[in-house]
Amino acid sequence: MYQYVLKRLLLMIPTLIGAALLVFFLLRMLPGDVCEVRLAGTGLYVSQEEIDLCRADLGLDDSLHEQFVDFVGGYFTGDLGRSMWTGQPVVHEIQVRFKLSMQLAIMATLVAVIIALPLGILSAVKQDTWIDYGVRAFSIAGIAMPSFWLGIMIILGLLIVTQAWFGSGWMPPINYVSPFEDPIGNLAQLIWPAVATGYRYSAVATRMTRSAMLEVLREDYVRTARAKGLIERVVINRHALKNAMLPVVTIIAIEFAFLMGGLVVTEQVFNLNGIGKLFVDSVGNQDFALTQHLVMLVVVIFLLTNLVVDVLYAWLDPRIRYS
């Protein structure tokens, strides 16, 4: 087991190096630089001298290998440098946003589970009936809908409904408050994007729940339980569901790894100050320093989540451990 984990960890190293090289060179291939956006982007007069000063200040005139050493070296010295836009330490920039994105990802996953489990079970139990078709159509619609569009429609809906019922339009707060300080304000802000994202992610989980349930329902011990005359609800809850959970949990965890990237658009629509919005902003500002560390963060989260899932899976299901 330890060997397996160790091997997987070692395999992550080339992936990380590759990703670092890829992001580094992709960014340097882009025409334009942060100083031009910063000083010329507002239509005010700017002299070339000022732009040159700014470039020198940010180290953009350094040779490529110096810049690469600065970037990767940061992981060994612990100094990740500063954002080229705000001049704030990269760690600080990411830290303040990470909480929000993490909370949103967890909430979205909860929403996905709350939607997926009952619908998946219902769909399996009522296989090939109109209920089954309805559930499947509902969940596929979730994948089909662009989540930013769903977000926009939710905001529009809230405005219209509150205007009609209470006489004044209400929209979610646009400032993040910690759930420990103001749980209601926190929820009022995050529940909508969580629904918009969660609905989308429920689709895959619903399908997995359905097929896992179908498989389990055909197993001997379920037939036995039924034969014993147990009522259907008990059979499903106590016997079938428990055994169908493994693949469902797996798929939810894998989806979670994708969520960090998936929040980009949702955060944009709801003006949430999270990692995804930071990403779009830093790319838009050509802020290399921040962008490359953000990419690495997303890659690491992805790889680690996958690793945890695989290890858990191997631990729970000994058959695949040595393959």
């Binding site: 882009l30 025409p31 334009g32 630089d33 942060v34 031009e36 956006v37 910063r38 000083l39 010329a40 982007g41 507002t42 239509g43 005010l44 007069y45 700017v46 002299s47 070339q48 000022e50 000063l53 700014c54 020198a56 200040d57 836009w85 705000t86 001049g87 704030q88 600080h92 920039e93 303040v96 946003r97 926009i152 905001i155 405005l159 205007q163 004044s168 339009g169 209400w170 929209m171 979610p172 707060p173 646009i174 400032n175 993040y176 944009q268 629509v269 709801f270 003006n271 100050n273 919005k277 930071l278 902003d281 790319v283 838009g284 500002n285 050509q286």
Partner: protein, 548 residues
């Protein structure tokens, strides 16, 4: 030289007058007077939205309103645009006393008295030495220290502070551009002690000013908080207990924020349709202020590319554009509106409508203009031309106007291939690679100062990307800058305009921007300026609790 630069007022032209409109009863002139007569109430926190995050906290080096809106309230200027009448370019004292001085020594010496008893937020007293240190940093920065507006002060010989209450600016030559440069809203007064003890980079991350509000917190990407400065040097101000500048990059989010009362105001400007939506949804809970805007959207033909080296082709491009019609339609959906030439339309140096109509592309008969354009193209031997049009990936107003321009050019048989690029790539093409036939461009200045602003049209200007040399225009500009009287300046300006926009058609003016600020009616005291950089200290802003 008490000149026209201080002292003009917005021309009373239908639609361009800065106006206070009450949502429920649009256009009641009375409402403006009622507002002024009201007594300011103290207290409350103003939430406003701002479209971006400031690159640093140092006004002397940055260029963006994303810095001005959240941070200007922490600082004072030596002189400023009158916050009670920002439409005029009458400057008034902020940290100086006894009014704006007349220059002596043939217009070459300006002596200001500095207010006594003013303290920085950290408790140090503010003196003329601090003013000198700040302007020295702006005008004569040490090697390697950035100062974005250094070139504005090329007429300044030295800055002196003979005692703690006197500051003297000695000029190399008399210049009408000096006072507007001095009043630029980025010229924050820093403490000499801070500069000496902490160095020139300290203000990138730290705030210590004499402004109406004290810096409380900046949460990256989210907001900037300010709290009332109890020791503010303008009696009885500020009225607010504090403010929160909320960062919201998306225009749609900013509009919704005001719709849902998550923010009370946005200081840059909304499209007209958004104003109408807000007024329709919120009635008298919304008040609208509008003004001509000291920003102009241009298109830049690349003179190094054929056939745009041919003035006939450039004139044809301009002739195809129906500015009067565009003004009518685009002003419903975009933040542009006013038809104008090279000078800010609200200024007395600007061409009148009758004068404009003499220029190529400004005629009222668009069909005649377009016929002329087609003839010019034919004469120049241009058939089947596809324009490679470089545009900026920002909706308001670049992409909206871009889509309109493409349609205008299509009407004289020109095809346009639009390349919309994110800002960094857009500037890389515009400023460096020059790989475009025609590019969108704009000129957007703070204090209205046409003599300085029209340098945009000089081939030699650092912010002109059309790649041309035109000595006639350069000579005319030198003459303009030295012209002693307003009448002479106006005459030269017309010649300058005719060469730049008509005979050579170096650059194309599309429309001037139009600033619309719908805000919650409970926000009182803030008056719209002709620039989103001006009048942002918020010291005279207050909240009417009866309307909240």
């Amino acid at each position: 030289m008490k000149n026209y630069v201080s002292g003009f007022r917005a021309r009373a032209r239908a639609g361009t007058v800065a106006s206070l409109l009450l949502g429920g009863a649009m256009g009641l002139g009375l409402s403006a007077q009622i507002v002024i007569a009201e007594e300011a109430q103290n207290g409350g926190t103003l939430n406003f939205v701002v479209a971006g995050e400031a690159p640093s906290k140092d006004g002397h080096r940055e260029q963006t309103y994303a810095l001005i809106h959240p941070y200007a309230p922490f600082y004072s200027l030596l002189i400023r645009v009158n916050p009670e009448d920002p439409q005029s370019s009458d400057f008034v004292c902020d940290l100086c006393v006894g009014g704006i001085p007349e220059p002596t020594n043939g217009g070459k010496t300006y002596t200001f008295k500095v207010k006594e008893g003013v303290t920085f937020h950290d408790g140090q007293p503010m003196t003329a030495q601090d003013v000198k240190a700040s302007y020295d940093k702006i005008i004569f920065p040490p090697e390697g220290v950035p100062s974005s507006r250094k070139t504005f002060f090329n007429m300044v010989e030295s800055v002196e502070a003979p005692d703690d209450t006197t500051i003297v600016f000695n000029l190399k030559f008399a210049s009408g551009a000096f006072m507007p440069a001095l009043a630029t809203p980025f010229n924050w007064i820093y403490s000499k002690k801070d500069l000496e003890e902490h160095g020139y980079d300290w203000h990138k991350d730290n705030v210590n000013g004499t402004g109406p509000f004290k810096f409380v917190e900046h949460q990256p990407g989210a907001f900037v908080d300010g709290a009332k400065n109890e020791n503010y040097h303008h009696e009885g101000q500020p009225h607010l207990d504090g403010f929160r500048a909320i960062i919201a990059r998306d225009m749609a989010v900013r509009i919704q924020a005001i719709r849902g009362d998550r923010a009370a105001i946005e200081f840059r400007g909304f499209p007209p349709q958004a104003r109408d939506d807000l007024v329709k949804a919120l009635g008298d809970k919304i008040m609208v202020q509008e003004s001509d805007w000291n920003c102009v959207l241009l298109y830049t033909p690349n003179h190094e590319r054929k056939p745009f080296d041919d003035p006939r082709v450039r004139r044809a491009l301009s002739l195809a554009v129906d500015r009067w019609g565009g003004s009518e339609y685009l002003s419903r959906i975009a933040i542009v509106k006013t038809v104008g030439g090279v000078v800010f339309p609200g200024h007395p140096l600007a061409a009148t409508d009758a004068e404009l109509e003499q220029l190529a592309g400004y005629g009222r008969d668009i069909e005649a203009s377009r016929a002329q354009a087609r003839a010019l193209l034919e004469e120049a031997g241009v058939t089947d031309l596809t324009i490679d049009y470089n545009n900026r990936g920002v909706d308001q107003p670049y992409k909206v106007v871009g889509t309109w321009l493409i349609d205008q050019w299509a009407q004289i048989g020109l095809k346009t291939e639009q390349q919309v690029r994110p800002s960094p790539q857009f500037y890389a093409v515009l400023r460096n690679s020059g790989e475009f036939d025609v590019s969108v461009d704009f000129n957007c200045q703070s204090v209205v100062n046409p003599i300085a602003d029209v340098t945009k049209f000089l081939g030699s200007a650092g912010n002109n990307y059309a790649n041309y040399e035109d000595q006639a225009l350069e000579d005319l500009y030198t003459e303009l800058a030295r012209a002693p009287t307003f009448d002479e300046q106006r005459t030269i300006m017309r010649k300058y305009e005719r060469i730049a926009l008509d005979e050579q058609a170096h650059l194309g003016v599309t429309l001037w921007w139009y600033k619309i600020n719908p805000h919650r009616s409970y926000v009182k005291g803030w008056k719209i300026a002709p620039s989103h950089y001006l009048n942002q200290q918020l010291d005279n802003v207050w909240l009417d609790k009866s309307l909240m």
